[in-house]
Symmetry: D2
Subunit: 389 residues, 4 copies
């Protein structure tokens, strides 16, 4: 009989929904050795969180995360809130002896992230950061091919994460555009993902130089937003507020193993809805991936005979591919949300089998260090050595 693991989830919005779905579905497809019990979801707005609890299938709800993390019947705390609350929740949850699954980026600052890592290590609980793209089957296959030596020594990493949802200057000043809550713009939201993928697929970054920009510096305040966020009365009929995060951040990097790389995150790439694309070139081959076509991996091998060389498009939907045996027959493609099911499966397995799971808070700190290094580089217009942060 699989062990039951009681889950308490903080957050019921976009990420809260994605995580809820993963707990709801994991048991139907995977044998994790443990099954999650959806005990309680937590949010400050009682009407909204009660509705979410019902819709998503949670047994109950809480309106205070402090209460949630102290409940005896919770084994695992899932933190799916904006970055400004991660540290407090995680530290409290660790102190209460709960395992922790935390959304990315781990925190809004490197110092907070390190504090969180310290807390979970002291408490000896399991900890995982939700860099879910490691668990896209095509990405996991990329890692496998690298480990099998298929692309040899890596020379180049080239990644962009492009979106376009705030291009309209009338798009309001939501929390993701407010530094106090979000920490940063696409840098922490999107570069965080591709930095983690670079760590996963290439290795540690040693030095960075970057730049950022904010194309649209003022935006209309959303209904009901806190005036403390920097609002001012504009000349027009709608109150305007200052955008305090980046609209785009780019950087160049040197890896410890001699590879070089480029990274870009923006919310101003028209037509690119969720375009997380990377390419890796090694001495024996290349790999390319694009999240908008997440069931496909491009692979080029210099080992192919000269007249038959080319990038092959692997539809990563075979039993031979990571995670896929649990799903449908070949070519019956899966979607974005499945990555969370894979995360939950691996986390549950890790808890019940006492094995480590990645990315953990240590990985989260590594990402945070690069994020912070890049921001420092952009501010001071110089190269930054990550090890000196």
């Amino acid at each position: 009989m699989p062990k039951e693991i009681n889950v308490g989830l903080v957050g019921y919005s976009f990420m809260g929904k994605a995580h809820s779905h993963a707990y709801r579905d994991v048991e139907m497809f995977f044998d994790s050795g443990a099954v999650p019990v959806m005990k309680a979801i937590c949010g400050r707005n009682e009407v909204a969180v009660a509705a979410a609890a019902k819709k998503f299938g949670w047994e109950g709800y809480e309106t205070s995360w402090k209460k949630l993390v102290e409940r005896d019947d919770i084994d695992l705390v899932d933190i799916s809130t904006p970055g400004d609350s991660h540290r407090d929740i995680a530290v409290a949850a660790a102190a209460a002896g709960k395992h922790i699954f935390c959304e990315k980026p781990l925190a809004n600052t490197l110092a907070e992230a390190r504090e969180m890592l310290d807390a979970v290590q002291k408490a000896k609980v399991k900890h995982m950061v939700a860099f879910n793209y490691r668990r896209v089957p095509a990405v996991a296959l990329a890692r496998q091919l690298i480990e099998e030596g298929r692309i040899g020594k890596i020379y180049h990493w080239r990644a962009v994460y492009l979106q376009d949802w705030i291009m309209d200057p009338n798009f309001p000043l939501v929390w993701r555009l407010v530094k106090k809550q979000a920490g940063s713009g696409p840098h922490g939201d999107l570069n965080a993902h591709i930095i983690d993928l670079a760590h996963y697929l290439v290795g540690d970054i040693s030095d960075v130089v970057g730049m950022d920009t904010t194309f649209i510096k003022e935006r209309p305040m959303p209904e009901g937003i806190d005036a403390s966020l920097g609002a001012r009365v504009g000349g027009g009929r709608r109150r305007m507020g200052r955008v305090t995060v980046d609209d785009a951040t780019l950087f160049l990097a040197r890896f410890k193993n001699g590879a070089i790389g480029s990274f870009e995150a923006t919310r101003f790439a028209g037509g690119r809805r969720n375009h997380n694309r990377f390419e890796i070139n090694g001495s024996k081959g290349s790999l390319a991936f694009n999240l908008e076509k997440m069931n496909e991996l491009q692979f080029y091998s210099r080992d192919d005979e000269p007249h038959m060389q080319g990038f092959r498009e692997i539809v990563v939907n075979e039993k031979a591919h990571p995670y896929i045996a649990a799903w449908w027959p070949p070519g019956h493609i899966i979607g974005w949300e499945h990555t969370f099911v894979h995360e939950v499966h691996d986390l549950l397995s890790s808890i019940v089998r006492g094995k480590p799971v990645h990315p953990d808070f240590e990985d989260g700190v590594r990402v945070q260090a690069v994020l912070e290094g890049v921001s420092l580089s952009a501010r001071e217009k110089r190269w930054v050595k990550i090890s000196e942060l």
Copy 2:
């Protein structure tokens, strides 16, 4: 409060799992006005069906479909078995006053299909056939664009459904290769899908001419298969059986509205795992779709200025697109199984609101007539008029 609709599902294999998942998830994403209650799943092997019931989340199970359809606490019977049992189950379920959701093709023969349609019409129950590809958002968008007049009068339909899972001559003689159970090979399995899509997107077919072939005529018997299926003792060490269905069926068609079309279904297209691709050319534009890239629709408009014309790749993942508002933000793509969630949502809505739902058994009969017309054409090597069947 949404109404509860009690479901009994017959079949727990590939399709049974896909349908189970839809019932499990629909409420989390859609407001259908009704929620499904997963009462019982049914299969002949008690150990297997009990395990499936537990894993998929059904309250209980049955080992006799006759018992299932007679249960007072079942409102909706879901038939996810091979085609040879559809007629009997559907007729009995209709007689018992149950709504019916039936896997495709509706039956193994046109006569059976008509009998089923007759039964549900007499019983005045809701009936739906699971041609799930109508509910791929990109396909629903194609229909919407056609209805909006974006491609004008249709000239051409061009569809293939290519797979490759039985190319190995040592692949065994499973039920899908046995006429008695499956009715036909890729013709009923795959052409059925693209015929339904043609009906949905173009209109009724008037005449067909077709051909079929079986490339590999004998295959090893699977473990434990019934000798009555045509097995014979081969010269080698494994018993061989005769393949009694087509490996590939192609046909040409004239539509009632003057359009012309081609169809092909095969299981011998190496590298095409689940390649359901169609293209439509009209007087004002064109549409193209491929199930392996199911979140994309290609659209060409002659209304674009001459120097800016081209097929545009619509990533069908926007709030503006059918079904998508219920899921994730733009570019967070969905998978194959979501089509079943859409079906169940529409079926539940239809039941609770007393509105018709399509494709229904009448649509199923239309597909069956074309399937049968093509088989007749292939056998007698002549054109067949569908209205004369």
Copy 3:
């Protein structure tokens, strides 16, 4: 020193220009053992042909093809006229002992084509039909891979040749829409190409069943067109004429080697400018090609390891590829007109070295037989055996 071969070209329009360019350029890139001397170009309109001679680089011109083929200083007659004049020119040229390079289709009827073949065989001159797509490097590579056994026994051929240049109902009744001159519509113009490719890549066709249609039955007469073409006075302000050729022709085929295939040619596929696409599925792999992306060949191999299988996109621009060593470095792609340079190179080599060249008039007759078989099938609504024509 390479031998000089004196060329006389009949036709100075689209094809005349493409052939002229080939003679002009071939020597700069290829060592054919012979170099063409551009002696004379021929056309009925003296002003126009004189201008073409100058622009394309011909030494002189003729206004009568009869005079051209009798000139002592001509070794090779190139026939780049509409199909209704091929037979007469070719028979006369053969009688005069000239080698012949003839545009496709070889003739407007099978009988004419056979007469032409007979003439060149009796005259023992070199003969070649300009099915230029055999000499797209990607197509030549496809043939090479097939010969190397890379895709095994062939099961499927699937080809379409789609264009859209006459979709506007106001497009005038040009010669290509007049049966008397063109023989047929896209059937002879486009299906001819893909039939030849099927012969080249798969083998001989044994049986066909086809259909054709004319979507737009009347069109405005072009300025100055001969009234004998079927013009009538319309109700409106522009004289209308009857379209006497097909707008689209589709057919199914059985090959002698057991493969099956489908073919389609249309001028009503909006957005498809010159979309000659085929796919071949064999027991060991698959190939796919699209003329609009003519520098690319898609190749799938079942020999790849299971987790690394996929269609690879070979950019056919390497020294290792057919014809490419003569051109530019890798990835510096070539264009459509280069296929004619390749043809001329191979034809010149063949003449000077006394070796056969393909496709020759025999290949042209094979294509013509299939074209005629399909037309007969469409007319009589039945299967037609090619060997009985």
Copy 4:
């Protein structure tokens, strides 16, 4: 009657051949108002240059460029040599009153480039730099769409130029890997191209920060190479020499108009043969291009209706597109070498009509300044302001 312009070409290798072909073909397709007369080609190796003259169609040859530029019968000097000789030839040609067409990059240093610009301005001759990719029809269309306001205010430029021809460590130390001759590696060879495209499509660059690397630091000496190039006796059996140029150079940039951009050039991107790809994101739309698919332009418009938005693939082969009316019917694609025909057409027109032509030496100097700024940035690990160079 078109004017005749006598051409003398220095260089007969890769670029010399491409330029020769352009002079040979331009008249057949374009009415430039002038026609080139291929007077003489020049190279130091008499046997080789004589053969090239014959094969490419030049009237004669020279073995000294000094003699060539002084010939009275030469109007236009074409410099298709490595960068270390550009300055001397150009200054002499200008002094002799010749128009100049010079391969890119304009020179090996900014100082040399400025000297060249000074010389042609003083001599009042026409001058053009062969950044041929401006004349890919798809790129010219991109420029047209930008000028038409289709993508609005530009936010992002993102370009890579990837090749892979020296990935084999045994590839020899050819002149392109020797700083003295080539000036730099892919930086001057490839980044030069994408910098010019950025200037053409976005505008002037104000600040850069960059990095470079040499992955393989020693290579075998080619047969017959000058020992002065840095050869040393290796431990093995082949003499090794030091690679004195970059293998890859990446940089970030700010444009004067507020846009930001990234650039990368490498010869270590396995499978990317000639992958010059860029993407531009503006407030109203986006454009994307890849030289390996040079007949295609991707265009996304925010003006499309929400449910019909997507990148459209424009096959840039219509009469409505730049340069294409001179070539073939729609969808009959052109190749890499055609860009040179377009350059020569525009240059000849410019000479005969007394109009300016771009890119000229001033554009060449702008590119050179950015190249030098990036090298300086990489060396000193800091941001560099282009205007201060």
